[in-house]
């Protein structure tokens, strides 16, 4: 039996907004799960239902074998990190870290030791006597992580903890979070809209959109084998290219690939790294933008079949307006249904 289980979980707000439309998810002990999706997809609502901050309209949440759906947040023994830190502004960093321990039976000495330990692990020992408002965002979020961890809860919940930080701090803190999670082996549910964060942190990614789970899988599963067009486009930077195709007699235009599909329209998906420049290739496009990114470049092309992006080594630049021919890796073309975007082959 899994450590955390969401069963047909649903949330409908009084104003009629259906934020979460019946999701099922099983999380194993010690797993790092990332809920990934655009704003408004229901990922934060799901997290808050697990925390007990929102009441589920329907469905069940099981934690460590017990039904916690109707329990108050304080009865669930979880720790949570908020996007905007939610540190107590009138308390020093030390008092913020001590706060969750005040409600445990720990002796004063033990509490102090716990706080010192977690502060050392997060590298905030020198900040203990300061107040949150005096600290930059990165440090505030470190302390917020510490506050969620110091009680050693059985579940760690994080709501876009890196969302307001700049890229340097984000990368640092990502490593801190991963290291702490591995060290304590605490089961973690992490919400983000940043697919790169999801890819690097997660044991499994749960892609959400419009209140439903589109796909749950390891980063490479989600990336290489997306279950639908939404996941294909959302995961990856940039997302998967989408080419409208037509199957006639087992051959798919415009790429001329053999496919085992009935006749009719189809949407083909190709990752940017599986497109290659080839003047004899089946597609031609005009360069819109050549994005140099250091280790590689993204070439944006306008083709008759739409806008395509090709990932190239950082060689010579293309000028806007240049014509480029391209071919695809047949082994890496995926087929999706045009209507609901479901994966076909």
């Amino acid at each position: 039996m899994s450590f955390l289980a969401l069963e047909r979980l649903e949330k409908r707000y009084p104003d009629g907004f259906h934020a979460v439309r019946g999701i099922d998810l099983a999380v194993e002990r010690g797993e790092f799960i990332v809920l990934l999706g655009p704003s408004g997809c229901g990922k934060t609502t799901t997290l808050r239902m697990v925390a007990g901050l929102e009441e589920a309209t329907a469905g069940t949440i099981r934690l460590d074998g017990g039904d916690v759906t109707r329990l108050r947040p304080s009865q669930r023994d979880v720790g949570m990190v908020f996007q905007f830190y939610a540190l107590y502004p009138h308390l020093s960093v030390r008092a913020n870290l001590l706060f969750p321990l005040e409600n445990t039976g720990l002796a004063k000495m033990q509490r102090e030791v716990r706080v010192d330990d977690i502060a050392a692990a997060l590298g905030v020992t020198h900040l203990l006597e300061r107040f949150p408002r005096q600290l930059p965002g990165g440090d505030q979020q470190r302390i917020s992580l510490g506050r969620a961890l110091v009680r050693q809860p059985r579940l760690w919940l994080m709501d876009e903890p890196l969302g307001t930080l700049d890229s340097d701090r984000r990368e640092e803190l990502r490593e801190v979070i991963r290291a702490q999670q591995l060290q304590h082996g605490v089961t973690t549910l992490y919400v983000t809209h940043d697919q790169e964060e999801a890819m690097t942190l997660a044991d499994r990614i749960v892609v959400m959109d419009q209140g439903v789970i589109r796909q749950a899988g390891t980063p490479s599963e989600v990336y290489e084998s997306p279950a639908d067009l939404f996941t294909a486009a959302f995961v990856g930077s940039p997302g998967m290219n989408r080419i409208d195709g037509l199957v006639t007699g087992g051959v798919c235009a415009p790429l001329g690939l053999p496919v085992a599909l009935p006749d009719g329209p189809v949407v083909l998906g190709v990752r940017p790294e599986y497109l290659h420049p080839d003047d004899a290739g089946p597609l031609r496009g005009v360069v819109v933008m050549d994005e140099y990114l250091g280790a590689w470049r993204n070439l944006h092309l306008d083709c008759p079949c739409g806008r395509l992006v090709m990932r190239l080594p950082p060689g010579a630049a293309h000028r806007p307006g240049d014509a480029v021919g391209l071919r695809v890796d047949p082994a890496h073309v995926l087929c999706f249904a045009p209507g609901d975007g479901r994966r076909l082959a």
């Binding site: 304080s74 009865q75 669930r76 908020f82 107590y88």
Partner: protein
């Protein structure tokens, strides 16, 4: 150049925003105050006739003349007692009501309207009307007490300061409640969510989060109410008149001295004495508020 920060132009612009208000405040506060200081060394009266310098005689009267000193001291004590009691009751009651009103429920809006109404009424007039309510024989309060078989005290002759307190509390508790409610509403919900997740019991949430976060605002509300209570005049005039020993506040005594007895110079000297005291207390209090704000690492 208009709008260029850090230049002479900006300084001009900045002062043109704050200047008019400051000028007006100076003209109507510092100027009369200075004049008052001058008057306090004279024997001026209200008729606007001639006056002459009397040196520190007015001050000497206030501090050492037997009959006067007792009177002035009593007025100060009455005012202090009234202020402390009124503000303390209003703070406790107002904050308790705000806590009770914090969550939404059906009928909250009309209830709030009723609760806030006393604050909008004129103290001078409502003080007058309370005379009817508190009247010993036909006053509704005693009639109700009588119907309930309880004793019917002569409120307006035996418990004058209590009457004053009662009406002040009735009128100004809503003000404290309003400010406290605004403060409670402004506390970010996430702080409560974090505390709830950390298994903090309700009383500790109140003691460690709600109270300290509201404290600076409550402090300011106390300051505003206290400054009003120290000036208490309207209710005294309406309920007992300015010359009743039981309720003679500083303002009432000032009125009595300056207008009824027409001793402008003496009144001016007393006003200066009172002001020095009030400003000392208020300065201490605002320093305390500053200190509280600084403790939270908040600038400005």
């Amino acid at each position: 150049m208009a709008g260029m920060p850090g230049t002479g132009g900006t300084r001009m612009l900045a002062w043109s925003f704050v200047g008019p208000a400051l000028l007006l405040l100076i003209a109507f506060n510092l100027f009369p105050l200075a004049w008052n200081i001058v008057l306090s060394f004279t024997n001026a009266d209200l008729s606007g006739g001639t006056w002459e310098w009397v040196g520190g005689r007015n001050y000497a009267t206030i501090f050492s003349d037997k009959s006067f000193a007792a009177k002035y001291g009593a007025a100060l004590r009455t005012t202090a007692l009234f202020t402390v009691l009124a503000v303390a009751i209003e703070l406790a009651l107002g904050f308790a009501l705000a806590l009770a009103l914090r969550r939404d429920f059906r009928g909250k809006t009309p209830l709030l309207a009723v609760l806030l109404l006393p604050m909008m009424l004129s103290p001078a007039v409502m003080g007058l009307f309370w005379n009817l309510i508190l009247e010993g024989t036909y006053g509704p309060l005693n009639q109700i007490l009588g119907l309930a078989g309880l004793s019917q005290p002569a409120w307006r002759t035996e418990f004058k300061l209590l009457c004053l307190l009662l009406v002040d509390v009735w009128m100004w508790t809503p003000f404290m409640m309003l400010i406290a409610l605004a403060g409670l509403n402004a506390i970010p919900a996430q702080l409560y969510e974090a505390a709830e997740i950390d298994r903090t019991p309700a009383w500790r949430v109140f003691a460690r989060i709600t109270l300290p976060l509201c404290a600076p605002l409550l402090g300011l509300a106390v300051l505003l109410r206290a400054t009003d209570a120290l000036k208490q005049f309207d209710l005294v005039m309406a309920i007992t008149g300015p010359n009743d020993q039981a309720t003679q506040t500083v303002s009432a005594l000032l009125y009595q001295t300056t207008f009824a007895n027409q001793k402008v110079g003496l009144g001016a000297a007393y006003a200066i004495v009172v002001l020095v005291g009030v400003i000392a207390v208020a300065t201490l209090f605002t320093r305390y508020l500053d200190w509280m704000a600084a403790r939270q690492g908040r600038e400005g």
